[in-house]
Amino acid sequence: MNSLDPRVSRLPEIGKPGVILPKIPLDQFASFEVFVQPREGKPFQHEGIVHAPNIDMAYIFAKENFTRRFTCTSLYVAETRNVYVSSTTDGERNAYDLVADVSTSGVNDEYEIFHLVKRGKQHIAVGTVMAGSPEEAMSTARKMFNTKLVYNIWAVKRSNIRLTTPEELDLWTTLPEKRFRDAGDYKGGDKLKDFLDKQKLTS
């Protein structure tokens, strides 16, 4: 069936009887979550997603897709499937109330913890905990960071994060000068007004 319509082109072919095959994955890249530190001293915040074949490619894409304007001091990425997500609440209850107690495993892997404090906003990093699993990380985070109502919690194992190395921190040094990338740098309205004023004078 030669058709550009995906409803047709993705229809399964009529197979031979008795043949069982695994489902063919879509020809698509994995997604990676991008976290940006907008200013020195500010926490990292979730900015969005890039698609990439691996985490190193995701990092180079994230750098220009999410930090090509405004200001940025650092960046990191993690594959979406490595981001563990708590139950989300309706805002009446704290998401930490829905986190189960997990006894200490004694394993000391570092996990980064993120909070969603306002619906429709970004997840923001609140700190690091030591744990042996994402469940334990959230349980530990409840003891350490449960100070106000949060809608949702994320936990990401630090070894699954592509961090910016100390020597890479100069990647953004010239960024504040790139004002030409902001719409606000183009005074279109002023120019139009000048043009119309000139037209009035000549007519």
Partner: protein, 251 residues
């Protein structure tokens, strides 16, 4: 200070960056992935920005204003190497050009951080982070496609063969280099080329690509003297089209 020798260095660097910046910007809206389209376009913009910084230094030395220099010269007045003016082909060609040129470019600027000519050494330090990203981007792509599939490896390999003679044209020698060396402005093209070969070999060794035997590659020279391929003039005409409509326009 020998101003002629210095200006020659500044012009060839600025022209390389302007022309490659324009060529790479031709991928805007047509990149192989949305994410890459944006990344490659941003780097093209960086290159044009770096060329502007160099044209500003030249302007301070008595040359014409950056826009005049960029948009009103003929092909024979440009000093870029032929590598950067070649038309885009498949993306593998642009990636290989990006890798070979940017490796040389970042090493050149690294050498210039020690230049006795302060405007250059200051600029070199300022744009270090931009260059770090450009080479990180190029090296990550080389590693990715240079180890991925038979098709990606053979495409990159094919482009590497085609591009290499032009890449060696980056280092076209000039009699003025000894003056720059004596004055501590720039160590020279052959010193740069030696560093470049080592770095290129290092990156390529992490892939399934093969470098040609350096002795068998004949460099394509001429660009530094204004002897260009037939591809530069049409590109300049297109690049300056809007400027020529109204050279006094303010943006």
């Amino acid at each position: 200070m020998n101003e002629g020798a210095l200006k020659e260095l500044l012009y060839k660097m600025a022209d390389d960056l302007l022309i490659l910046g324009h060529r790479n910007s031709e991928w805007t809206g047509m990149g192989p992935l949305l994410e890459e389209d944006i990344a490659f376009s941003s780097m093209a913009q960086d290159k044009v920005g770096q060329s502007l910084a160099l044209y500003n230094i030249l302007h301070a030395l008595g040359e014409q204003a950056p826009d005049t220099v960029a948009f009103t010269r003929h092909a024979a007045q440009f000093h870029n190497c032929i590598l950067v003016e070649l038309p885009n082909q498949e993306y593998d060609f642009s990636l290989i050009r990006h890798f070979l040129f940017d490796t040389a470019d970042s090493l050149r600027w690294e050498m210039l951080t020690k230049s006795t000519y302060e405007p250059l050494s200051l600029l070199a330090k300022k744009i270090k982070g931009e260059l770090r990203y450009h080479t990180l981007h190029a090296n990550t792509w080389m590693k990715q496609l240079g180890t991925a599939t038979q098709e990606s490896i053979s495409r990159l390999q094919q482009s590497l063969q085609v591009v290499m003679p032009y890449a060696l044209g980056i280092f076209e020698p000039s009699p003025n280099e000894s003056i720059l060396l004596t004055e501590g402005i720039f160590e020279g093209e052959s010193a740069l080329q030696a560093k470049w070969k080592t770095r290129v070999e290092e990156i390529v060794s992490g892939t399934k690509l093969h470098l040609p035997d350096w002795k068998t590659v004949t460099p394509v020279f001429g660009g530094r003297l204004g002897k260009h391929s037939e591809h530069l003039e049409p590109m300049l005409n297109e690049m300056s089209e809007v400027f020529r409509m109204d050279p006094t326009a303010e943006w």
